[in-house]
Structure formats: structure tokens, C-alpha cells
């Protein structure tokens, strides 16, 4: 059987999710043995264009050029998979959605006329059909290896959609919200990180985005009981997955 051809593409992002692939120090050469890495500009200057069995997409769509590019990649790919919060929900740069883009450009650049950008940062799924989404800001290496292994053999990756809260209980951490009143998004956040933040005595800040059917209203009420004001609650839901519909709606209730 021929090795599947992989393309890795960057849209608006920090590079961290594709870096996770290069950070798989123990697995990288084995992965390179099982997959034909046809296009991955961060790793190689060979750019083998054509059809991809697997396309990994990092980043969100924030420019007219990116909006065109994703259509082209979709048309040339069998399985299109998004890596991380930017590609899956829009990422931190989606904080510009609903803001005054012209004012943002003015705040950063002396010559706004040189800047070509859309008013929004949007997830890949707003533009094309996505076959699988890997969550996280950044993605976890464990999920990435699982994704690669599953994709090579043609099965669905096992990335549970339950709450980070469940991972936290399994890890045996003391609940930071119950014991210290620390605001924590663990009850509404998608699993994948292994409940990292509570293990470091801080509240979850939601980098894996909303879990399946999250009860954000109940959590917001509990945060308020612990003394969080509306501005803090809105901010808590407005970070790396600010454009994920469940988080965005809850934030809007508190603005």
C-alpha cells in the first residue's frame, strides 16, 4: 500500500500546533516513515503540490487570500483535518470579530493602507467541509499521535468530548473552584489537556474550547456566586476560543 500523502498548511496562527509535530521527538522519524510528507513548509523546502490524502490545517481565515486558499486545499484533499483552536474556532485573533477592524489596524500600524485583512477571524469549517477537528491551544501531542495513527489505518481518532472536569477527577486533583473559589472553565471545556491547570493550582482557561453540550449558564452563575463580576465572566469566555458559539453566546450575556 502506498504511503498516504500529507500536506501541512498554515493560516493565521502562532505555528504552535504544527510545531507539535516537530516536537514529537520520539515519534517524528517513525511518522515520517509511515507518511509521505509532501508539503510542510515549516519542515522542508520541497513543495510537492497535487493531491493530498491528508491535509492538516493550522490557523484561522483572516485575509481574502486565505479564504481563497482553503477552497483550493479542500479541492485537492481527501481528508481535511483542523489542528487546534485557531483552525477549529477562530483562535485568539477572533477577538477582532465585532470590533472595529480599522481602529485595530490604526492601533498597530502607521500605514493602514498597506494592510489587507478581513473584518473577522473564522474557523475553517465556516468555509469548507472539515473531516475532523483536533482541539487545543495548542493541541496535545497525545491527541496528535492518536490522530496520525488512526488516520494511517483509517479509523476514527479517539479524542473524548467530555469535560476537562472529568480528566481532573481522574487525575485526582483537588477542585480549585470548590476548595479555593478560583474561577475554572473545567466543567464546560473539552478534554484533551489532562486537566493541566488545576494540577498547577490555577483554574482552567478553556484552551480546548467547549465540550459537547456545555452548560455555560450554570457555570457562569457559579462564577458569580464566587464573586466574579460580569466583565470577568465575559473575559473568561473570550480568549482562545472566543468565537466558539457556546462560549461567545455566554460572553455576550455578560457584556
Amino acid at each position: 500500500m502506498a504511503k498516504p500523502r500529507l500536506g501541512v498548511f498554515k493560516f493565521s496562527s502562532c505555528d504552535g500546533c504544527q510545531l507539535s509535530l516537530l516536537d514529537c521527538e520520539d515519534e517524528l522519524l517513525a511518522v515520517a516513515g509511515a507518511i509521505d510528507i509532501a508539503y510542510f513548509p515549516e519542515a522542508t523546502r520541497s513543495d510537492d503540490v497535487g493531491h493530498y490524502d491528508i491535509a492538516f490545517i493550522e490557523g484561522s481565515v483572516t485575509t481574502p487570500h486565505e479564504a481563497e486558499m482553503i477552497q483550493d486545499i479542500r479541492a485537492r484533499s481527501t481528508a481535511l483535518i483542523t489542528l487546534g483552536a485557531c483552525a477549529t474556532s477562530g483562535g485568539i485573533q477572533a477577538l477582532k470579530n465585532g470590533a472595529d477592524t480599522a481602529a485595530f489596524i490604526d492601533a498597530v500600524y502607521a500605514h493602514p493602507e498597506y494592510i489587507d485583512t478581513l473584518d473577522t477571524a473564522t474557523p475553517i469549517s465556516d468555509h469548507v467541509t472539515v473531516d475532523f477537528e483536533l482541539r487545543g491551544c495548542p493541541i496535545s501531542k497525545r491527541d496528535l499521535i492518536e490522530l496520525v495513527a488512526a488516520t494511517v489505518v483509517g479509523r476514527t481518532p479517539q479524542t473524548p468530548s467530555h469535560a476537562a472536569c472529568i480528566e481532573c477527577k481522574l487525575a485526582g486533583h483537588v477542585c480549585v473552584m470548590v476548595s479555593q473559589g478560583t474561577p475554572c472553565l473545567g466543567p464546560v471545556t473539552h478534554a484533551g489537556c489532562g486537566a493541566l491547570c488545576p494540577g498547577y493550582a490555577r483554574g482552567c482557561y478553556g484552551c480546548f474550547g467547549p465540550k459537547e453540550t456545555p452548560n455555560t449558564a450554570a457555570l457562569a452563575a457559579q462564577l458569580a456566586n464566587h464573586g466574579a463580576d460580569n466583565r470577568q465572566i465575559a473575559r473568561l469566555f473570550s480568549t482562545f476560543n472566543t468565537n466558539a458559539p457556546e462560549f461567545r453566546k455566554e460572553a455576550e450575556k455578560h457584556e
Binding site: 498554515k10 493560516f11 493565521s12 496562527s13 502562532c14 505555528d15 504552535g16 500546533c17 504544527q18 510545531l19 507539535s20 516537530l22 516536537d23 521527538e25 520520539d26 517524528l28 522519524l29 515520517a32 510528507i37 513548509p41 515549516e42 519542515a43 522542508t44 523546502r45 520541497s46 513543495d47 483572516t62 486565505e66 483562535g91 485568539i92 485573533q93 477577538l95 477582532k96 470590533a99 481602529a103 485595530f104 489596524i105 492601533a107 498597530v108 500600524y109 502607521a110 500605514h111 498597506y114 494592510i115 485583512t117 477571524a121 491551544c137 495548542p138 489537556c193 493541566l196 491547570c197 494540577g199 498547577y200 493550582a201 490555577r202 482557561y205 484552551c207 470577568q232 473575559r235 480568549t239
Partner: protein, 430 residues
């Protein structure tokens, strides 16, 4: 033939999206452009109104390769604004975390992104599959030790979660360090071999008289704090930065370009640190530099790959020193009350000096933010290198010119997501 445009529309093996163009008329280079088309993400704009405590988590997302640098510059700037000092074991733990990022970032760049230029491969995997497998495996094992430090102190290697204004959320116990210490002792041998491997390459014989800018500290190799100095006599407090440096917005780049106030270019990064602070390297790092014949006033930018390897070795030594001296602090962070204020800080990201400035409101929310990343500062110098270094090979095939241009740009380990908040080669021969 005497007129042409040499260009690359998507520079590979760099962090982010960039391009370059060299314009040749009558056999002379008349223009060089290092173009950053990485989409702008407007961090400085959406930091306005956020809480100061969010700055290390949000600014980390500017760059997945050097998030620790963003976390360090932001927390130090905030601490100045808030009037607190973080010292003792908490300060040492920050330096340890930064050593981890230097190792991870330097070895990723040197082995996976830059070495293929010297050995003639498209990438590190192609290099590994063609007789250099042992070197690539060594580098991966060595790099892993850097990531192990970041994970140990920071919680995870990309976008660490344990850094906060005032210190950390949680600090390790002295006894927790044993496995990391063992891994670093092994990595130290790998680091020595890695220096020798990079020094075995053939380097283009090219130099420029750069103005080399770095931090300077009386007792420490530049990393977390210090005055801003240059090889041409600048010596200022970091709060005087805005009076001595400026940023310009040019049409061909989504990243602002950094200049000295007199409009001249300068260089920041590993080579300036090495030249300006050689005496503060560890004995082992200095011995390695001497062994491979790397002079302390090196002006050949292609040898930056070996400078990175030396700094990697230094970072392993420094990490071990910090671990051996560590005593658990009484509290994981210094407590404070939010207040209005202005704070500035510069730290040494793996690829160079990273300046942050914030104004805070009374409630600790951010009024304004200014971030000057190293690649922005190095852009003019990159363009001048292209102008200076390829003139004598313009009669060679375009592919050879392209390769030298790319290698020249990679000397800088440019971080384009940072700078835009990277590269196409475009040689215009008319």
C-alpha cells in the same frame, strides 16, 4: 541576463510566512526586500482592556516556538508597572524555564531548519534518510531535554500554563528535579557533540560590521534582565529604549521594521549575545567555542548555527547550576495590589531581544501595549545582508542564488508569526 528578479514566494523552514525579492539591473543589485505576509493578528490592539494577569497567556500565543520569551517579557514589564520585584528562587526558576526554551528553539532551528542548508537537503527528514540519521536523532534527543525543562517548570512545552505575574502558580519541590537532572546530564554530552557537528560544516566566507545589540548584566549571560548595550558603545537602561530605537511601517511587510533612532540597522540575537557577553558563558561553553575555533568577535552570520549550539550547551550548564542551587521558595508568587502604572521590560528570546511596554489602569486592566519582537528588529539587517552577500554570485544559476539567499535569511532564525504579529525570494532581473 544582467537584469532579473530572484524571488521566493514562500520561504520554507522558518516559523511563519515570508518571502524575499532581489532586484538586479545591469548586473547590480538595486533592491532587496524581505517581505512578511504573515497575516496581522493585532495583539497590541486586543490587549487593550484585558486584565494584566492575562498578558502572559495571551502574548504567548504570538509565537508557538518562543512562548516563554513572551511570557517573560510581559511579566517583567507588568512587575515594573506594579512596583514589585521577583527574586531568589522564583527568579532562578524563570531563568531555568528560559534555558529550556533556548535549548528547544535553538536545536529545532539549528538541526531541523538551518543544517539542511549547509548539507544540501530540502529538510531534516530528507537529511536523516540520507546518511545523517544519527545526527538528527542526536539533535531530537537533545532538543527533548529542552522541552522537558519547559514542561517541568511550565506545565507543557507550547504555551506553558504555570507562569504568572509575580512568579508561578505552583513551584516544584527540590526532590522533584531528580529525573530532569539525569536527563540534562545526558543532554550535556549530546550538546558537546552537537557543537562539533555544526562546526564541521563549510561556511560562506562573508562578514559585515554589524551594530550588535543585546542585554547586558554584570553577573549573568544575557537572558532575563539587564541594560541594553551595543557593540558600538550604546549602554542604556531598558526604560530608555523608546528614545533610542524606533519602528517603521513599510509597504512590503506586515511587520514593522526596527531601527536605531538615527535610521541605521542593527542586529540582535545569539551572535550579539555571544560577542557582547562571551566572558559570562560557562567554562564548558567557552572551551567548546575555543575547541571549534569560533572567535569571540565573530561577524560571520553563517556561523550563527554554531553560536546557537554553544548557547544550547550554556543553557544545559546553566539549567544544571540552577537545579543544584534550588531551594523551594516560601510562596509560589509575590503578592501585590493592582495599580495604575507604566512598565517596560526586555528579555532575550532565542532569536533576540524582545521588548514589551504596558500602561495599566487603576484596576490593573491594560490601557496600552507595545511589543517589539526580535525579527522586526532584524528585518533591515536581513535586507542589507542580501544586498551585501550575493553580489559576487549573480552570474551563477538562479537556484544557487536562491539557496544562498534562503540560507542567509535563516541565519536569523526569523520568527515571522512574532514579527507580524516571513518569506518569498523574488530576484527581479528586469
Amino acid at each position: 541576463m544582467n537584469d532579473k528578479v530572484i524571488k521566493v514566494d514562500m520561504l520554507a523552514r522558518v516559523e511563519g510566512e515570508g518571502a524575499f525579492k532581489v532586484v538586479v539591473r545591469d548586473g547590480e543589485i538595486v533592491g532587496t526586500e524581505f517581505r512578511i505576509f504573515e497575516p496581522p493578528r493585532f495583539f497590541e490592539a486586543f490587549l487593550q482592556g484585558r486584565d494584566h494577569m492575562e498578558a502572559p497567556d495571551i502574548t504567548a500565543r504570538i509565537c508557538g516556538i518562543c512562548p516563554v520569551a513572551y511570557q517573560m517579557s510581559s511579566v517583567h514589564a507588568m512587575e515594573m508597572a506594579l512596583g514589585i520585584t521577583v527574586d531568589g528562587p522564583l527568579r532562578d526558576l524563570r531563568r531555568l524555564l528560559y534555558c529550556g526554551e533556548w535549548i528547544e528553539s535553538h536545536i529545532l532551528h539549528a538541526a531541523m531548519l538551518h543544517a539542511p542548508d549547509f548539507l544540501g537537503y530540502a529538510g531534516a527528514i530528507e537529511m536523516a534518510n540520507d546518511g545523517h540519521g544519527d545526527a538528527v536523532k542526536l539533535a531530537l534527543e537533545y532538543k527533548k531535554a529542552g522541552n522537558a525543562i519547559v514542561t517541568f517548570v511550565g506545565g507543557r512545552e507550547i504555551h506553558p500554563i504555570n507562569v504568572r505575574v509575580g512568579g508561578f502558580y505552583k513551584v516544584p519541590r527540590k526532590t522533584d528535579f531528580a529525573p530532569l537532572r539525569e536527563q540534562l546530564l545526558k543532554a550535556r554530552d549530546l550538546a558537546e557533540k552537537f557543537v562539533d557537528w555544526t562546526a564541521s560544516f563549510t561556511f560562506p566566507d562573508k562578514e559585515r560590521d554589524y551594530t550588535m545589540v543585546s542585554l547586558s548584566h554584570p553577573d549573568e549571560y544575557p537572558m532575563n534582565e539587564g541594560r541594553v548595550v551595543s557593540s558600538k558603545g550604546l549602554d542604556i537602561d531598558v526604560t530608555d529604549w523608546p528614545a533610542h530605537f524606533r519602528e517603521e511601517h513599510v509597504a512590503h511587510s506586515n511587520a514593522l521594521q526596527g531601527f536605531m533612532v538615527d535610521g541605521s540597522s542593527y542586529l540582535c540575537g545569539p551572535v550579539p549575545r555571544f560577542n557582547n557577553a562571551y566572558d559570562l558563558l560557562s567554562d564548558r561553553a567557552k572551551a567548546a567555542a575555543e575547541r571549534v575555533g569560533l572567535p569571540r568577535d565573530n561577524r560571520n552570520p553563517y556561523r550563527s548555527i554554531t553560536v546557537r549550539a554553544i548557547e544550547g550547551l550554556y543553557a544545559v550548564d546553566e539549567a544544571l547550576r540552577i537545579i543544584d542551587a534550588y531551594e523551594e521558595p516560601d510562596a509560589p508568587f509575590v503578592a501585590y495590589e493592582p495599580r495604575a502604572g507604566v512598565g517596560m521590560a526586555a528579555t532575550e528570546a532565542p532569536r533576540g531581544l524582545l521588548f514589551h511596554r504596558y500602561e495599566l489602569n487603576d484596576d490593573g486592566s491594560i490601557k496600552t501595549a507595545l511589543i517589539v519582537p526580535p525579527t522586526s528588529q532584524n528585518q533591515p539587517s536581513i535586507e542589507e545582508d542580501l544586498q551585501s552577500f550575493i553580489g559576487d554570485i549573480l552570474d551563477q544559476p538562479d537556484e544557487d542564488i536562491l539557496l544562498l539567499c534562503e540560507q542567509t535569511i535563516r541565519n536569523y532564525d526569523p520568527c515571522i508569526s512574532c514579527a507580524t504579529h516571513f518569506l518569498e525570494l523574488d530576484i527581479d532581473r528586469g
